[in-house]
């Protein structure tokens, strides 16, 4: 589904990614772990097309297309979704109204008629149940006055509404208590199927008890330095990252 080769990226002249390579096939869940400042969130932002980052080398092919040639919105239309670590509050913009515009712009690109009001409301009802998001929150301004847990649930609600091929969850577990974590993970698991894929970026193994990954990668110093199965996450939880640093001479 996505093939990332030797990705190098800079921000304000500072190199953050230094040759990151990763393959994700459909039906898979990949976890990316790593210490602070290793480039995890930069990686997520670059996939979503944030302009401040300058990709200096490497390639990303997403569903057969050169991802780096696409604008942020074209990536979304192609089926890429980023759940933000810090979801933005946008006062005055109603959640369900902007999502409707988003869905219809995608439908228009694909030559489909706009969604009917009735179908849309049914979709909202169905998907908000998935993350136990109160109907009142879905129609309020985007994330305005939401608690940390509500913001993260809203991210997964939007993911459910947009039905992406590849979802990148950037530290979705940060700021969540156990109950909220379970609800969010449940939502992600229910959306999982054999045709889509998920990249979970996290600091802690805890989330991976709920969203069980097929692969775990360690991102360090701008590269993936170690890959393994879910047991690697447990080992990292127990021993930290020092042994990997030593192994890789970082």
């Amino acid at each position: 589904m996505i093939e990332i080769k030797n990705l190098h990226a800079k921000i304000e002249g500072k190199e953050i990614l230094k040759g990151l390579s990763l393959n994700v096939n459909k039906g898979e869940i990949h976890a990316i772990m790593g210490p602070n400042g290793s480039g995890k969130s930069t990686f997520a932002s670059i996939l979503a097309g944030k302009e401040e980052y300058d990709v200096t080398n490497g390639s990303i092919v997403f569903c057969g297309e050169d991802l780096l040639e696409l604008s942020t919105e074209e990536r979304a239309w192609a089926g890429l979704f980023l759940a933000f670590q810090y979801p933005i509050e946008i006062p005055g913009v109603s959640n369900i109204n902007f999502l409707k515009t988003a869905i219809n712009e995608k439908r228009e690109k694909n030559g489909h008629e706009p969604i009917t009001a009735k179908d849309y409301m049914n979709l909202v009802r169905e998907k908000s149940k998935l993350v136990e998001l109160n109907a009142k929150l879905t129609s309020r301004s985007v994330n305005e006055g939401f608690s940390g847990g509500e913001k993260k649930r809203n991210e997964i609600f939007q993911m459910a509404m947009l039905n992406p091929k590849l979802s990148i969850l950037d530290e979705t577990d940060s700021g969540l208590d156990i109950d909220a974590l379970r609800i969010v993970a449940n939502g992600v698991n229910k959306l999982k199927n054999e045709n889509n894929a998920t990249i979970v970026i996290t600091h802690y193994q805890r989330l991976l008890d709920y969203i069980v990954p097929d692969f775990v990668h360690v991102l360090m110093d701008g590269r993936i330095v170690k890959s393994g199965d879910k047991d690697l996450a447990l080992k990292l939880e127990k021993n930290g990252y020092d042994w990997i640093k030593k192994e890789n001479d970082i």
């Binding site: 979503a48 097309g49 944030k50 302009e51 604008s71 942020t72 919105e73 990536r75 979304a76 239309w77 979704f81 980023l82 933000f84 979801p87 933005i88 946008i90 006062p91 005055g92 913009v93 109204n97 902007f98 999502l99 515009t101 988003a102 869905i103 712009e105 995608k106 301004s141 985007v142 939007q158 947009l162």
Partner: protein
């Protein structure tokens, strides 16, 4: 670049008013016109609004006809009064007048005097308006009258070098409740100028609402002076939407003369290219126990410039005043600018007053967030601008006006609200 001192150009094409105005006022007016240069940037009150170029235009104040005016009609109310170049248009105006209301076209007032209390001395545009007054309306709302439908007054400019001097006088009687819509448009022409004045009295316990749309052209000038006097327990509310015009200057002067009054001033200005819009307001709290609330929001693109100057006076004995004033701006281009000056002058000691002003651009993080969900750059900006204007738009109660404004914004900026 030094600005030359320019006087208003008195030429033979300009006909003095045929309306029966107090002779002394007329005499004063012509003397002011002859002896006062048009304001230049050395005059504090006009520092950022350059109007001396008006002196280079040979204005005339002729009549014109427009066959179809339907696109200038904002609301489907039965009571619409249409003026073209400041002259009353009999064919386009409603024949109906609401019960409990007296409406007189100034030019048809026979020999009755038109009394004005606008200051003329030193006020060149009031003087021009007085001496060359084309026409206007005198509206008396009888005490206790509650209007179901708004009264709509539409002014349209047509032709080159046209000046329209136009006046509306409204006396809202005790305990009356009425609503007005004012639209200012330009059908065609270069260098035309609408110089309008309004004199409004809001009597005890009366409620008066004005929704005003200014959408002339990038070739037209507009200066509007509104004088409002509020008596006790009255509520005055005005929403001013400025969507087009080359130079637009609004002077809104509110005298709150009675206790327990409410005053609401809301406005939005949306500019592009080389447009300039200047909103000057004064709310003068002379007595106790009143509330005033002012919110103006602007979005400026390209090389456009705007001015906000809002002054609130709280006089010495005017205790328990609650005055709030806010001006918020978004600049869409590096070349656009705003001069914002909210001012409070408080001489009483037991008051609650606040004011503030913000200038910013659209939030890049919000745009990115919306785009990651599949909104195009244009839709993302559109949705954020619409969110920015939401509170001023929501101050309009009449859905037809909201719809009309959306349509204008869509036509001019391709924004969907």
């Amino acid at each position: 670049m030094t600005e030359q001192k320019n006087n208003f150009n008195l030429n033979s094409l300009l006909k003095e008013t045929a309306i029966n105005i107090n002779k002394e006022d007329k005499k004063n007016a012509i003397s002011v016109i002859k002896n006062t240069p048009l304001p230049n940037s050395k005059i504090e009150n006009w520092k950022y609004t350059r109007v001396s170029k008006l002196g280079n235009i040979n204005f005339e104040n002729n009549k014109a006809n427009i066959d179809n005016i339907s696109r200038y009609i904002i609301d489907d109310t039965k009571y619409s009064f249409i003026f073209i170049n400041g002259h009353f248009s009999n064919i386009h105006s409603s024949k109906k007048i609401p019960v409990g209301v007296e409406i007189k076209v100034l030019s048809k007032k026979n020999n009755e005097f038109v009394n004005s209390s606008l200051k003329i001395k030193g006020e060149i545009f009031n003087a021009i308006n007085t001496f060359y007054l084309n026409d206007g309306l005198l509206i008396d709302i009888k005490p206790g009258t509650k209007l179901e439908k708004p009264i709509q007054i539409i002014h349209i400019l047509k032709g080159d070098n046209i000046i329209s001097n136009f006046k509306v006088i409204i006396n809202a009687g005790e305990s009356s409740n009425s609503s007005f819509i004012q639209g200012f448009f330009c059908d065609s022409g270069n260098n035309n100028f609408c110089n309008s004045t309004s004199e409004i009295q809001v009597a005890k316990n009366a409620k008066l609402n004005i929704d005003k749309i200014q959408s002339e052209s990038e070739q037209s000038f507009h200066i509007n002076t509104e004088q409002v006097k509020q008596e006790q327990e009255s509520i005055f509310k005005i929403n001013t939407f400025t969507l087009n015009g080359r130079i637009v200057r609004n002077n809104l002067n509110i005298h709150v003369n009675g206790q327990n009054c409410e005053t609401h001033l809301n406005g939005a200005y949306v500019l592009k290219n080389n447009q300039h819009v200047d909103n000057h307001s004064i709310v003068d709290h002379k007595v106790e126990n009143c509330i005033s609330h002012e919110l103006y929001k602007g979005v400026m693109d390209d090389n456009s410039t705007a001015v906000f100057n809002g002054k609130v006076f709280v006089r010495k004995n005017a205790q328990k005043i609650n005055a709030f004033q806010s001006n918020k701006n978004i600049l869409l281009s590096d070349n656009a600018s705003i001069n914002s000056k909210p001012e409070l002058e408080i001489y009483a000691d037991d008051v609650k007053c606040s004011h503030g002003s913000t200038i910013g651009e659209l939030d890049q993080n919000s745009i990115f967030y919306l785009k990651t969900r599949g909104l195009s750059d244009k839709s993302a900006r559109n949705i954020l601008i619409s969110a920015f204007f939401q509170d001023v738009i929501n101050n309009i109660e009449n859905q037809n006006i909201k719809g009309y404004i959306s349509q204008l914004l869509n036509d001019r900026f391709e924004w969907n609200f």
